[in-house]
Symmetry: C2
Subunit: 220 residues, 2 copies
């Protein structure tokens, strides 16, 4: 689809193309664009803002990324690749579904409040899904990645298989709940909530966990 499918990385490793070489680091430029989109949203970020932050001219931007839409799509994927681990690394290694959910929510609290490293607040994907509904890029993006809900649902299913979660639990509903709490954290982080506040939310959510599982047991 793209004419520059060949170049996987900004580095000048092997596979030099013919003409004049690019004078800027493509990955670094994408990094800058991602941060800008993440901070200000799609509509509020202009090409001028982007070229300034990326340190390149408009013509180079279009040559390297195609269009504002395409750049935004690439920025979204770059975001997930680069920052997704902040919420998932510990959760993936947790032995039980409960510990996975707890790790996911606490680590999300830390990441979304910008406490882990220097980064904008809130989840870029969540913000994009709200602010840019008309944009085709967002729909394509959502369809192209494994969503938070799918990951959570899969992990909870594994919990049922492993026996640390009773089969009476509605894993889809529970996954939806955890995802909703994280989305809400994203909103609160964007509105200034600090790490302690978000961890308080995670704590309350997890304090209810056993009751939730028990309720499902009594029902089913």
């Amino acid at each position: 689809m793209h004419k520059d499918d060949a170049e996987q990385s900004g580095d000048l490793t092997l596979r030099r193309s013919r003409g004049r070489p690019r004078a800027f680091d493509r990955t670094a430029a994408l990094d800058a664009a991602t941060t800008l989109f993440w901070t200000n949203g799609y509509e509020a970020t202009s090409i001028s803002d982007l070229t300034e932050a990326m340190g390149i001219g408009a013509k180079s931007l279009y040559a390297a990324f195609g269009s504002k839409d395409a750049l935004f799509t690439e920025a979204l994927h770059h975001y997930v690749r680069k920052y997704g681990g902040l919420a998932w690394d510990r959760a993936r290694e947790a032995p039980t579904a409960r510990e996975a959910a707890s790790a996911f929510l606490y680590d999300s609290a830390a990441a979304l409040s910008g406490s882990v490293c220097d980064m904008p607040r809130g989840c870029m994907a969540t913000i994009a899904s709200l602010g840019c509904e008309g944009l085709a890029a967002v729909g394509e993006f959502a369809a192209s990645i494994e969503t938070t809900f799918q990951r959570l649902e899969a992990r909870l299913k594994k919990g049922v298989d492993d026996g640390d979660l009773p089969p009476s639990v509605d894993v889809a509903q529970l996954a939806r709940f955890v995802e909703t709490v994280q989305s809400g954290m994203s909103v609160k982080a964007r509105n200034g909530a600090d790490r302690a506040e978000l961890e308080g939310v995670a704590k309350v959510a997890m304090a209810g966990w056993d009751g939730i599982v028990r309720a499902a047991n009594a029902e089913g």
Copy 2:
């Protein structure tokens, strides 16, 4: 501040001003603008979109509302006045804090999914707080109304006073949790979640309630 402080309503009740009377219903126009901002967000809504939906000319819009920012602020207040009851009416009359929280979450699920009446999905205020960070109107608005958090916190405090909630409960933290769940619902609603899904989230949240309260009791 505004030159048209005198006119409280669009109706031609008493208090006619001097010049030519307005040819359109101000409240109906504000209604149309609110729906449009709610649906598309601030940035994605142009003056042309507004004038078309409101059925008036640009000059009349500026004469009646001042500017796009001022119109948006007024639309936000109009939204809270008109739709706030959907989430709060039943909760306000609930006898206990628990029933109030449950009513708030279930009624939010119904309203946010657009199931109560014909209206856009998600909470306009939540969406505005995310999409329009640079906008002065949003900050002023947030400072000028009693927020969801403040209402929830006050209701939970009353629950402690009434004795249906133990004093060991951190009401601020619990209020923050409920507010976060509602914000998350708003995001999910915006992304297509239907009423049943959102009610599932409310159900899971409330299934954990007693465990949350009990955990606070054991801790404090």
